[in-house]
Symmetry: C2
């Protein structure tokens, strides 16, 4: 015992001394607080019957974890007297003896059951499932439970995903630039593929599997047709082969005009028989490379992308030609609803709904329409997209943006689970009260045959994957919510902190609190009270409420805030664009009435005079200013909170996070000062007490022109 | 003893189990073969008197190394009975007592002395120097000596650099693309600078310091004037501050037209008083940011870059205006000799010499002319540049290319020390026999007041820094040769292997042999017998002997190989371009005579019929073909050699290197088959026995068009 404690101490010292660059994500497997833990024995005596790539991953994972928790030692694989059995039914007698058919049935294809049992007077644990992937998921769950110091309930731990397709979307270009990527370049080195499979691809797949993510679209939705040529399909196949044992399917983005660009056809009209035949032939070819190819993700008729509109066809006609091609192989088409017209004929907020609502039911059964959380474009805060609840006959999936295009890019800590949760918990009233977006997404509300959730990845070549160490938590949160959209943000934050840093409450409690408040903080210093789309043009880095002109109204700020001396805000009630009319009557009533409208969406739906009185009696102008100030103060306070955590974090991550938090605090000031000076031109009202005077004049902010901002590729 | 052995075993297991991504480079500090080593005690009882950033780096380095060699434990810093003393003169009595003024004097500013001594019956070690940087260099040397298992001689180990400025050149753009970079994007995240200093910047500086590299030019020679604006100078200052404690000075590339682009002047004519004043003012500003700014690196009048030619001025007139600006602050100007005319009025080989030879002596004393190793452009093999030895009154420095623009990019193992060594050992005969290029460079031949060596970095965001794990050895080799240009390649390879992998001779001996033969192997399968510049256009990836036309003769392959039915090769003797006339008479005689001309440069200087007889009796055609075949066979054999090394290398690096070596073997075949099929059109001779038949026809290779090849930015 003494010797093992010594070893433990040495290892702990080693762990603390070691530079931690964050590459290990939430799979740190750092030494357990209690080195005498029963799990030393349990993890040391595991039986994982059978041989397969996935089973081999399970065995390796046990070895890595045990070595991390307790120090290196050889794992007794396939022990004769195992204390941990990880096995499918019929591959180990303990499974059949200690589980019931009912228990197994509820697990479905990907679920797992972790259960304690007793044999020959010994306490043991089993992990079982109906597939090897289920076993892998169960293994990760057990290891996460051990690391966080939680207990396996005596009744067992049974869990299965609520959503079928849990997919990361990489907006990665073939030249390794990443559109809206803020953590380096693409981790996919297409040049070296297919001949070099980098360890990082496996580490990436492993991290995803540890969250239950089971699909990856590796190429940008602003797609390059080249990826469908044999040269690139061979490369995609190599990635698919690497991902397969981790339960991850590969998807590709399909450029709608591919039949012309790489097929040599004169048209890409989806009604054209040659076009249809081309997609069928191309799809057949893809499945020869990748037998379990997941299917296509398509952005059409949006922001310059080709699509069915070019031929006067509907989005359903466009989607169906691809759906017909992949259907024989079990593939699906994720067709994005982010369709809007560059001429801005109508409030952009309304266009997706108008385009899709009318064709509900016209899609093939293997099409799922991928809808962003809100109707504009991943703003710091948006009301839920009115399509949710409005298409009972067409499966809809959620698209969240994990990468922080509008939320401060790489350096702003914004824990996004509360934002995701806010959308998922929104009530559509589609089938009466309680028709939550989460129930649209998990298929229960409309009995969708297909369910899915997509997250636009924030992953790049930065040594910690995500730029900001805390942005790892957003990848983590996406995975947890895609598995179960009702997971609580607070639980996600706590689990991530414990897996990633320490179980010490002196750290986890204040930092969890900081994380949970961080999204609201960013909204406060960027776009309080329903303001939106007031960021800089193009790269979207920093404030740009003055952005106007340039040929596309819906890409300007002035189009959205409509500030004049008379007031500010976008009237989307019946007296304005009536986008509100796309929501359920209950919502129209609540949000349309200034007395009941949630203040967080106030200027999203209403144009109001600067002296409009908020619920707390402040004028709108004062309210805006005080929200900005509050965001700034929180960002500054967070720096001090983090500084007090030095003893709990390794030096490398501590310093990295600290410098980013200082940047965030500075940029919060930038946002506040630039926006308030700009709007003050119209309000002509003084800053209320408690709001700091801006350091510079408005011209300074107007002329500030940062170069080479990342992610604008 | 037993307990410590147990700890050691555990750590060793931990080390072997751990994934090794190569980030630690040659600073692995893996457990020593002999855990009872006397160095356990010595490293555990160190005294490093004083406090400073550099001294703090020394203390940390001792801690990291001891923890790696022997397992974690707290280092007894400033022990009262120290066994290792690292101190400047007068800061510890042991230094003054055990060293002589003569010993100290020879060390110069950056040298170090490591010496054993005895005190109170105990064996001790001291490291001393005339500067803290010397102490740091000595510390690294001691730790490297311990890791490799070498001994400190009883007479002590005294060492100082032969070259004053040892500089890495990064061809990194401000958008993080890297021109001719094959290992990801630039490690400089300009967007996050100056507010975030990434740990990688410090790790980079530490790695450089461990080799004695003391300067870094962080921006591309194809320069962007923006880097001289206050916005970017603040960022550059942050890097300079990070590098300073590691003894590294920052240099910037200066775009010659900056006075116009960011200064608003109508001209950049170096004779213009306003231009001169602008550079003085700008330089003053730079030194306000960076008090020890190293100076400017300039590429002018080359490949589209602006320069003094635009105003009818000489290169000296151009360089001097910058030199005058930095001189008051102790800065220098590194002015590249890579100047050639886009109209190709003359053999490109001759243009640098013609441009610079005539202005020898016209440069300010703080200008050093940076000359590539050869006169064309970093070809797989080039004869030394004729400028070496030809400018006795102007300091010349060497520019080597560490990144493998023409040597297979990321995936081809080519250990470059032998190539560097071949150039450095070339005899210029400038002052008679023995006037080696190395003696030009170290200043001894012409008594240059300034000496320098530059290496174009191969560093990027790849997790192992350099793409190929073995390309770390080229960074290492550059550092070692910049410190002492007479270092032997074999010693460099051996030391690198021992520091990076293991001291086990079963590994180091065969792999050292493989490394030492690898450059010749690449020459064989790319450009044997003096062929050159026959790579693909633009990205330079793969073979392109057919490249012709396009408006710039000197960027084609046909211009250089001149293959016709009558023969092949570039006649640079008196009957041709007479580039050979730029060399010393002794060389002209030897290389101009087909009986004595080295075969490795044969087609570089001679145009010869296909049936010309080589020394071994083969026809030229057969010789070419057999060289290609030999290169291919070696590349294939290397795969097998590496496969047999699995037991000696961690799994991650083993697999990574293996897949790259397989790619290299495939691409060697590609080079051989494409080049032989192309040249066979002219030779009309059959492939000799022993040369494999090509898999495809010539059209296949002509039409092979790889997309998005890295480094072409």
């Amino acid at each position: 015992m003494k010797k093992s404690f010594l070893t433990f101490t040495l290892l702990l010292a080693s762990y603390l001394l070691m530079a931690n660059d964050g590459y290990k994500l939430w799979l740190q497997y750092y030494p357990l607080e209690n080195p005498k833990s029963e799990y030393r024995e349990i993890l040391g005596n595991a039986r994982v019957p059978g041989e397969s790539p996935t089973l081999s991953i399970i065995k390796t994972e046990l070895e890595i974890a045990r070595s991390g928790f307790f120090g290196p030692a050889t794992l007794q694989k396939d022990s004769n007297s195992p204390k941990l059995i990880i096995a499918l039914k019929d591959t180990d007698p303990a499974i059949n003896k200690n589980t019931t058919p009912e228990e197994m049935a509820v697990l479905g294809e990907e679920g797992y059951l972790i259960k304690k049992f007793s044999e020959a007077g010994q306490n043991k644990i089993l992990i079982t499932a109906n597939s090897e992937i289920g076993l892998l998921y169960g293994t990760f769950k057990l290891l996460q439970t051990i690391q966080t110091g939680e207990q396996i309930p005596n009744t067992g731990l049974s869990n299965s995903p609520k959503i079928k397709h849990r997919v990361l979307n990489h907006w990665d270009n073939l030249d390794r630039s990443v559109e809206r990527g803020y953590s380096g370049s693409s981790i996919w080195n297409w040049h070296r593929l297919p001949r070099h499979i980098d360890q990082q691809y496996l580490d990436y797949a492993r991290a995803n599997a540890s969250l239950g993510i089971n699909g990856v679209s590796v190429t940008n939705v602003n797609a390059n047709a080249l990826v469908l040529t044999p040269e690139y399909l061979a490369k995609a196949k190599a990635l698919a082969d690497a991902f397969r044992p981790y339960g991850i399917k590969l998807y590709l983005t399909a450029r709608f005009s591919s039949p012309m660009e790489i097929g040599g056809l004169p048209t890409a009209d989806p009604i054209n028989a040659e076009v249809q035949a081309w997609w069928k032939e191309k799809t057949k070819e893809i499945y020869q490379y990748i037998p379990d190819f997941g299917g296509f993700l398509v952005k059409a008729d949006s922001e310059g992308q080709p699509g069915p509109h070019n031929y006067g066809r509907t989005q359903a006609e466009g989607a169906n030609v691809l759906a017909d091609a992949v259907r024989p192989y079990g593939g699906i088409v994720m067709w994005r609803a982010f369709v809007y017209n560059e001429k801005t004929p109508d409030d952009r907020h309304k266009q997706g709904y108008n385009e899709f609502k009318k064709i509900d039911g016209e899609f093939r059964e293997n099409v799922i329409v991928q809808v962003k959380n809100g109707a504009i474009d991943f703003q710091p805060r948006e009301p839920f997209h009115p399509l949710f609840g409005a298409m009972p006959k067409t499966p809809l999936m959620m698209e969240f943006q994990i990468t922080q295009e509008y939320l401060g890019h790489d350096t702003h800590l914004a824990f996004l689970a509360p934002m995701f949760e806010e959308t998922l918990k929104s009530d559509t009233y589609a089938n009466g009260k309680g028709s939550l977006v989460s129930k649209v997404i998990d298929g229960s509300l409309h009995k969708y045959p297909l369910t899915a959730m997509a997250g636009v990845a924030n992953i790049g070549t930065d040594r910690n994957w995500t730029g900001h160490h805390f942005h790892q938590a957003n990848w983590f949160a996406f995975g947890k919510l895609a598995w179960d959209p009702e997971t609580r943000s607070a639980d996600i934050a706590e689990e991530w902190l414990k897996l990633t840093f320490t179980t010490d409450k002196k750290f986890t409690e204040p930092i969890q609190k900081m994380m949970l408040a961080s999204h609201e903080m960013v909204v406060n210093y960027m776009t309080p009270l329903g303001l939106h789309h007031i960021m800089a043009r193009g790269h979207h880095y920093g404030p740009g409420p003055w952005v106007t002109g340039g040929g596309r109204d819906d890409w300007t700020a002035t189009y959205y805030h409509k500030a004049t001396e008379k007031g500010v805000g976008f009237d989307r009630t019946a007296s304005g664009s009536d986008a509100l009319g796309q929501y359920a009557p209950e919502i129209q009533k609540e949000w349309g009435n200034l007395k009941t409208a949630p203040e967080k969406f106030l200027l999203w739906f209403h144009h109001l005079p600067w002296d409009h009185r908020l619920a707390n009696g402040n004028t709108l102008w004062d309210g805006i200013a005080l929200h900005y100030q509050k965001g700034v103060e929180e960002a500054k306070a967070n720096v001090a909170i983090w500084e007090s955590m030095e003893a709990h974090v390794d030096a490398e991550r501590f310093k990295h996070v600290l410098s980013f938090m200082k940047i965030q605090a500075e940029e919060a000031v930038w946002w506040r000062d630039a926006c308030l000076l700009y709007f003050q031109q119209f309000s002509k009202m003084p800053l209320p007490d408690g709001v700091d005077k801006p350091e510079h004049d408005l011209d300074y902010y107007l002329n500030f022109n940062p170069k080479f901002v990342p992610g604008n590729g």
